[in-house]
């Protein structure tokens, strides 16, 4: 039969793994932490724009190219929920919003989507984190939250 120590270790390993897997589902359900949605691609994602759906809901359509993001600067009021859509018109780019756990890939022919809520005012930097050619280290954008109304 199985050695006593070996059996204990197998039980421990399985318990620890089960705990980890439970945590993933807990984050998914209770904390609504999820990865990008899988959307079928169409041409409308190739136009960079900010759209206001209602007072608290915005959609930003990002288009990445060598070596910038459009829109480069977006203004969003505090407390808004924002849908972010990201695609690329040339090579693969990365999309990381500082401090917001938004982490997407911009791939030509595909569109990544996530939703994020901005409850604190500030300047949220977006950097490209996938190598996209010699100008990669310049590629940045900003979301400015709580910019005073014009």
């Amino acid at each position: 039969m199985l050695d006593r120590y070996e059996r204990n270790v197998i039980i421990t390993a399985l318990t620890v793994s089960a705990l980890f897997i439970f945590s993933i589902f807990y984050a998914l359900g209770a904390k609504r932490q999820d990865v990008t949605e899988c959307l079928p691609y169409n041409k409308t994602y190739e136009t960079a724009r900010v759209e206001q759906i209602d007072g608290r809901t915005y959609q930003i359509f990002y288009v990445a190219r060598m070596w910038n993001f459009e829109p480069a600067i977006s203004y969003i009021p505090v407390g808004s929920e924002v849908d972010l859509f990201v695609t690329s018109l040339d090579v693969v780019h990365g999309f990381n919003v500082f401090d917001k756990n938004v982490n997407l890939m911009a791939v030509p022919g595909g569109v990544s989507k996530t939703t994020v809520k901005f409850t604190e005012p500030g300047v949220y930097k977006i950097v490209c984190h996938e190598f996209c050619g010699t100008g990669h280290q310049n590629m940045e954008a900003e979301i400015i939250v709580n910019y005073p109304r014009k």
């Binding site: 050695d3 120590y5 070996e6 270790v9 197998i10 421990t12 390993a13 620890v16 793994s17 980890f20 897997i21 945590s23 993933i24 984050a27 998914l28 932490q33 999820d34 990865v35 990008t36 949605e37 899988c38 959307l39 079928p40 691609y41 169409n42 190219r65 060598m66 070596w67 990201v86 695609t87 040339d90 090579v91 693969v92 990365g94 999309f95 990381n96 500082f98 756990n101 938004v102 982490n103 997407l104 890939m105 791939v107 030509p108 022919g109 595909g110 569109v111 990544s112 930097k125 950097v127 984190h129 996938e130 190598f131 996209c132 050619g133 010699t134 990669h136 280290q137 310049n138 940045e140």
Partner: protein, 558 residues
């Protein structure tokens, strides 16, 4: 064991070529941390661009060194345990293809025509020689696998009642994983990228290419790791002066790797569009399954080491650790392996962070990732390769090791360096520091308007650790090349340390047969990858032309 002249020559070439190239690889490792920390704020140094250097660092350290070593070590293991030499022509042909392919790819990178990093994600386009060279290296590594299958079957026929040695199972499992996963990347390279880079095909599906790459890309890390695991099971207990706690635990671990190494590659693509969340979470959970064999290994090896220490008269719950032969020149291999194991504790745990589905949003493509994989491929994998390379060099050439004291302290120095380096990178990753970025030009250049003070401390830690790692590398080179230059003082042999098992073990037919495991492997791969590939095909309708890394305008055929 006596070894024929032809096999000896081929093995020595397969050990020497990658270590020679490693000098370039390690130089560029040092350069990365210098650029990244903003100490130099330039695009290139000594004629080599940052991203060109990063490509060299990745391709040489992670593909060339690991593949050459796995083949050479596989030859030695199969020869030593089956008492039969591999086929001479096949061995020679394989070596020739690997060396020529490496030369071709290296020439393309050094000429500045293939600065696409070792993941070579299209639509960035490299020179066709880069793709063809890489494919030759891979195909060269397939040849011995087919030969070893024959050696294994003959051995089995001659010894029908004996349990297959753990090292043989490990080697065959490793190359089966390698063969299956490289089929996908061979398709990506030969069918998609080569015609496209030559201009015969205008556009390709990028998501399909990425999905095929990661079918290969994660299994690749187990291909790197399993030779170290073979050493942990079959050598480390012996080197410590003890016995292996359980041989069947090793067999179970290897077979779990066989079935679960491949169907988890999508966990590199959580941030990718076009692949459904169902596929992503399934593969995330399967990744936790592949952590189980590492738990098993950690226990079995720790138990074996404790047994060895108690044989040496150790007492107490923890103090037995200090009875192990840490700084002994005659068992220097122990130092390489034990340091690798210590690093792998952190490497494995951070790997679980990366694989944890939505938690991956925090770390994906930040410097947390290189922080993690320098604790795995830069930890147990790299140290086992260095230690075993110089061990085999010394045996096969019949030369005593030059500067054995340096050789003994290299793994300890390296471990200190990696721990500092990875702590810095992982800390930086948690505050958004991107990987693969020449940060010295912008984010860590105080005169740039993009300067970001958050990343100063983290990248400085990276620099400090990187400097120590580079020093350890230099000491190793002194010892390795110094040994090459010595006179022969003994007969060339291959003698691997062999750990006996602690308990008497009966042959378990299920753990001594590949068929059922291969069937499960095929089934799981089909169930997980059919939907992933179908998603990539169906949710992507815009294909992409090739781009040079220097130019935002696509390459058009003349």
């Amino acid at each position: 064991m006596q070894v024929s002249r032809s096999l000896r020559t081929i093995l020595l070439i397969e050990l020497f070529v990658p270590i020679l190239l490693l000098t370039i690889g390690i130089y560029h490792g040092l350069m990365q941390v210098i650029y990244r920390s903003g100490v130099i704020q330039r695009t290139s140094v000594a004629g080599l661009d940052y991203y060109q250097g990063l490509t060299l660092h990745g391709v040489i350290n992670a593909i060339v060194l690991t593949t050459f070593f796995a083949v050479a070590f596989g030859h030695a293991t199969m020869f030593f345990y089956t008492k039969r030499e591999p086929n001479r022509t096949a061995t020679f042909l394989s070596m020739l293809l690997m060396v020529a392919g490496t030369g071709l790819a290296a020439a393309a990178i050094l000429a500045g025509k293939a600065s696409v990093l070792y993941t070579f994600y299209p639509p960035l386009k490299a020179h066709p020689a880069f793709y063809i060279g890489t494919a030759m290296l891979i195909i060269g590594s397939w040849i011995p696998y087919l030969d070893w299958i024959g050696m294994y079957l003959r051995w089995k026929k001659e010894n029908p009642n004996e349990s297959t040695p753990v090292a043989v199972i490990g080697t065959l499992v490793n190359f089966t994983i390698w063969f299956v996963c490289t089929l996908a990347v061979a398709y990506e390279v030969l069918v998609m990228l080569v015609p496209w880079s030559l201009g015969w095909v205008q556009e390709i599906n990028i998501m399909l290419a990425r999905t095929l790459f990661w079918f290969f890309g994660h299994a690749l890390v187990y291909f790197w790791l399993l030779p170290s695991y073979i050493m942990f099971y079959t050598m480390l207990p012996k080197l410590a002066g003890g016995k292996l706690y359980s041989g069947n635990a090793g067999r179970i671990a290897f077979f779990i790797f066989l079935i679960l190494s491949i169907p988890i590659g999508v966990h590199h693509q959580f941030g990718d569009p076009s692949i459904g969340r169902g596929v992503k979470i399934t593969q995330s959970i399967l990744t936790f399954g592949v952590a189980i064999p590492s738990f098993i290994t950690a226990f079995t090896i720790a138990a074996s080491l404790e047994y060895a220490a108690r044989l040496r008269g150790a007492k107490g719950l923890w103090s037995w650790i200090w009875k192990l032969p840490f700084f002994r020149k005659d068992v220097f291999l122990f130092g390489y392996l034990i340091n690798g194991l210590i690093l792998f504790i952190f490497g494995g745990l951070t790997g679980l962070v990366n694989a944890s589905y939505s938690l991956n949003n925090v770390v994906h493509n930040t410097s947390f990732i290189p922080g993690h994989f320098h604790l795995t491929v830069g930890g147990p994998v790299f140290l086992a390769i260095l230690g075993m390379s110089i061990y085999m060099l010394s045996q096969l050439s019949g030369k005593r090791i030059f500067a054995p004291v340096l050789n003994t302290i290299v793994p300890y120095l390296w471990t200190v360096g990696v721990l500092i380096f990875s702590a810095g990178l992982m800390y930086g990753g948690l505050i958004g520091e991107p990987r693969r970025t020449n940060m010295g030009l912008t984010y860590l250049n105080p005169s740039s308007e993009q300067f970001n003070p958050y990343w100063v401390v983290s990248s400085m830690l990276g620099l400090a650790g990187g400097g120590i790692m580079f020093t350890a590398g230099l000491l190793y080179f002194i010892s390795f090349f110094g040994t090459c230059l010595r006179r022969r003082s003994a007969e060339p042999v291959i003698d691997l340390p062999v750990s006996e098992t602690l308990h008497e073990e009966r042959r378990v037919p299920l753990l001594d047969s590949f068929r059922p495991w291969l069937a499960i492997m095929g089934l799981i791969i089909f169930l997980t990858y059919a939907p992933a590939i179908s998603d990539a095909l169906n949710n992507t309708n815009r294909k992409a032309p090739p781009y040079k890394p220097t130019d935002p305008v696509p390459v058009v055929r003349k």
